[in-house]
Amino acid sequence: MTPNLTYVIVVGVLVAAGVTLLLERSLTRVLMGVILLGNGANLLLLTGGRAGAPPIVGGAPQEEMSDPLPQAMILTAIVITLGMTAFLLALAYRSWHLNGHDEVQDDVEDRRIMDLAERDEGPGDADAGTGDDDDDAEADPERSLTASADAGRAG
C-alpha cells in the first residue's frame, strides 16, 4: 500500500506545530499543541488504512471498501482527546484562579538549585569569595541540604 503524500505532509505540519506549541510555557498554548498533535496522530492512523467505498456490507464489493478499523480507532482517540482537552482546560483555569496565570512552573528542585546559586552569588554570603561555589555545593551534600532547608523555611 502506498500512502497518500498530501496526508503525510499534513500530518508532518500538524505534528511540527503541535510540538512547537507543546514547548510553550502557557498551559493554554500547550493545550492547543496537544490538540494539534492528537489530530496529527489521528490522521496518521487514517493513512494506514485503505481508502474506498463506505464499508457497509452490500454497498460495494469487498475489495473496493475502505478499511473501517482505523476509523473506529480514530473515533476512540478523538473521545480520549476530548476528555483530555476538558481536563487541561480545567487545570489551566484552576491555575489561573490560584496564581493569576496559567504558566507551567519550574520543578521544585530546579527552583531550589537556582535559589542556592543566587545565595552563593549574593554579596553577603561568607563563602562567596572562596572560589567556585557550585562545585562546593555539589561536593558537600549536607551543606547544600541544610542550606536548602533554610531556604525552604525562609520562603
Partner: protein, 525 residues
C-alpha cells in the same frame, strides 16, 4: 473458566458506576469499593491458578473472533501482575479509608475518590490483560486519566503545579504510543498481538526497528526510564499518601510490563538489548544518586523508585530466560515494597507532621511499631539477605554473570553499587527520622490528638490534606501497612515457588508459541 478473564476489568468499572450513583453516601461507597476490590483479588488468584495449570486463558470480547474482535489474554505473567496489583490496590484502599475516617471528615470526603480509584484499577487490569495493541492503549488511557484526577485531588496550588507537568508528559507519551500504533497498523494490517508475532517477523529489519523504538519510547516515559524520568519525582510526592503509594507501586510497572510484553512477544532477538542495558545502568545509578541527595522522605522514595526500574530493564535487556524471570520476580517484589514504603512514609507524615527529614527525629522511640513498619521494607528494598529484594537482585546478578559480556558485568557492578547506595539512602532516613532525639517541632502524645481535631475543624473543605497529625495512628491505616509488610515477607518465604512461576512465565514469553496458540488454536490467519 474463561468467563473469569474480563471480570478484573468489568467489576471495577461497574463498581465505579455504582459508587458514582452513591455519591452522597460515603459509607455505601466504601462497602462497594471494598467488595469489588476483594472480589478482584479472588478472581486474580483464580486466574493465576488456572493459567499456570491450563496455559493462557483467552476471551474474545463480545464473541467476535480473534483477529477482528479484541481478545483478553490471561497468561501467567498477566495473571501474576493482576494478583499483586489487586492485592496492593485493596490494601491502599483500606489505608485511604482509614485516613479519611481518622481525619474526621467522614461526612465530607471527596466523593469522586472512590469511583476514580476503581477506574484506575480497571485501567491497570485492562492493560495487563489486553491481547491487542490498541486495547493496551485504551487501558493506559483509562489508568492515566484516573491518575490525573487522583493526582490533582483537592486542586491545591502545589498539586496543580505538579499535576500540570505530569499531565503534559503523559499526554506526550500517549501521542507517541498512538503514532506507533498507527505505524504498526499501516505496516502489518493488524493490531492483535498474537497475529503481529508472525506479521512483524515478515517485515524488513529497519522498519521493525523503527516500530520497536517508538513503542519503547512511549513505554519508557510511562515506566520512568532514566532520560525520560524527570517528571516522576516532581509530581508523585505532592499527592495524598495513599495515591502516591498506589502510583509508585503500579503505574510505572504497567509501563515495565508493556516493555516486557512487546520486547519478548513482538520483537524478540534482542536488537535493542544494548540500548536497554545502557539505559538500565543509567537509570539505576542516576536514580539512586538523586535519592541520596534528597532531604524529604517522599522525594527520596520517588528517586529509589526510578532507580529500581533499572533492575527490571536489566533483566529484560539480558534476553535470557534467567534474566527475564528475575526481572518478573523483581517487578512483583518492587510493587509490594515500594507501595509499603510510601504507606509508611504517609504514617511518618501523620505522626511527625512532615516528611522533611530535618524536622523529624526520635520516631523509633515515639512509635516503635511505625519504626518496624518502615525498617523491614527499607532493608528489603536495599536488598539485605534474606529478603525478597536480595533474592531478586541475586537472580539478576546470576543472569548477568551467565551472560558474561562486558556490558553485563558493568550492569552487575552498577546493580551492586545501586544496592549499596539504596542502603545508604534508607539508612539516612532511619538515622535522621527514627534514631536521633525527637525534634522539638514534633507533636507530643498529649496535645497532638487535640491538634488533629482542631485542624480538622478549621479546614473541613480540604479532606485529603496530609498535614493533619496525631500521636495515635489510626488502626485502619496501620492494618493495611502491616498487611503489606507481611505480604513482602511472604514473598520472601515463597520465593522458591514464586521464582519457579516467574521462570515458567519467562519461558512461555521467550517461546512465544503458548501465547499465539492460545489465541489462535488453529494457527494464526
Amino acid at each position: 473458566m474463561t468467563y473469569l478473564v474480563p471480570l478484573p476489568v468489568v467489576m471495577p468499572l461497574l463498581g465505579a458506576a455504582l459508587t458514582l450513583i452513591l455519591l452522597g453516601r460515603p459509607r455505601a461507597q466504601r462497602w462497594v469499593s471494598l467488595t469489588v476490590l476483594t472480589a478482584t483479588v479472588a478472581v486474580a488468584v483464580l486466574l493465576l491458578v488456572r493459567s499456570s495449570i491450563d496455559g493462557p486463558l483467552v476471551v474474545e470480547v463480545g464473541g467476535w473472533a480473534a483477529p477482528i474482535g479484541i481478545v483478553l489474554v490471561a497468561d501467567q505473567l498477566a495473571a501474576l501482575m493482576l494478583v499483586v496489583s489487586a492485592a496492593v490496590t485493596l490494601c491502599v484502599l483500606v489505608y485511604s479509608i482509614g485516613q479519611g475516617m481518622a481525619d474526621g471528615n467522614e461526612e465530607t470526603p471527596l466523593s469522586v475518590y472512590h469511583p476514580t480509584y476503581l477506574v484506575l484499577t480497571a485501567g491497570v487490569c485492562n492493560a495487563f490483560l489486553s491481547g491487542d495493541l490498541f486495547n493496551l492503549y485504551v487501558g493506559f488511557e483509562i489508568l492515566l486519566v484516573a491518575s490525573y484526577v487522583l493526582l490533582t485531588l483537592g486542586s491545591t496550588e502545589t498539586r496543580i503545579r505538579a499535576g500540570t507537568t505530569y499531565v503534559v508528559v503523559s499526554l506526550l507519551s500517549s501521542v507517541i504510543f498512538l503514532v506507533a500504533i498507527g505505524l504498526v497498523y499501516a505496516s502489518t494490517g493488524t493490531l492483535n498481538l498474537a497475529q503481529l508475532v508472525e506479521r512483524l517477523d515478515a517485515l524488513p529489519d529497519d522498519l521493525r526497528l523503527v516500530l520497536q523504538g517508538m513503542l519503547l519510547l512511549a513505554f519508557g516515559i510511562k515506566a520512568a526510564v532514566f532520560p525520560l524520568s524527570a517528571w516522576l519525582p516532581d509530581s508523585y510526592p505532592t499527592a495524598p499518601a495513599p495515591v502516591t503509594a498506589v502510583f509508585a507501586g503500579l503505574l510505572t510497572k504497567v509501563g515495565v510490563y508493556a516493555i516486557i510484553r512487546t520486547e519478548t512477544l513482538l520483537f524478540p532477538g534482542g536488537r535493542t538489548a544494548t540500548l536497554l542495558l545502557v539505559t538500565a545502568v543509567l537509570t539505576m545509578v542516576v536514580g539512586i544518586l538523586g535519592a541520596v541527595a534528597q532531604s524529604d522522605i517522599k522525594r527520596l522514595l520517588s528517586f529509589t523508585l526510578i532507580s529500581h526500574i533499572g533492575y527490571m530493564l536489566f533483566g529484560v535487556g539480558l534476553t535470557s530466560s534467567l534474566g527475564l524471570s528475575a526481572a518478573i520476580f523483581y517487578v512483583v517484589h518492587h510493587i509490594t515494597i515500594q507501595t509499603t514504603l510510601f504507606l509508611a512514609a504517609g504514617l511518618v507524615e501523620r505522626r511527625g507532621g512532615s516528611t522533611a527529614m530535618d524536622r523529624l527525629g526520635g520516631l523509633a522511640r515515639l512509635s516503635p511499631l511505625l519504626a518496624v513498619l518502615f525498617f523491614v521494607p527499607a532493608l528489603n528494598l536495599a536488598g539485605i539477605p534474606p529478603f525478597s529484594g536480595f533474592l531478586g537482585k541475586l537472580g539478576l546478578v546470576q543472569a548477568g554473570i551467565d551472560d558474561g559480556g562486558v556490558l553485563a558485568w558493568i550492569l552487575v557492578a552498577g546493580g551492586l553499587l545501586t544496592s549499596l547506595l539504596t542502603l545508604y539512602a534508607v539508612a539516612r532516613v532511619w538515622n535522621l527520622a527514627f534514631w536521633r532525639a525527637p525534634h522539638p517541632d514534633m507533636p507530643e502524645p498529649g496535645d497532638a490528638a487535640q491538634a488533629a481535631r482542631t485542624s480538622g475543624a478549621v479546614q473541613p473543605q480540604q479532606p485529603v490534606t496530609a498535614g493533619q497529625t496525631g500521636a495515635v495512628l489510626p488502626g485502619m491505616m496501620i492494618a493495611p501497612t502491616v498487611a503489606l509488610v507481611a505480604f513482602g515477607l511472604v514473598l520472601t518465604l515463597v520465593a522458591g515457588p514464586l521464582f519457579d512461576l516467574s521462570t515458567d512465565a519467562a519461558n512461555d514469553l521467550l517461546q512465544r508459541t503458548p501465547y499465539v496458540d492460545a489465541v489462535f488454536p488453529g494457527g494464526a490467519p
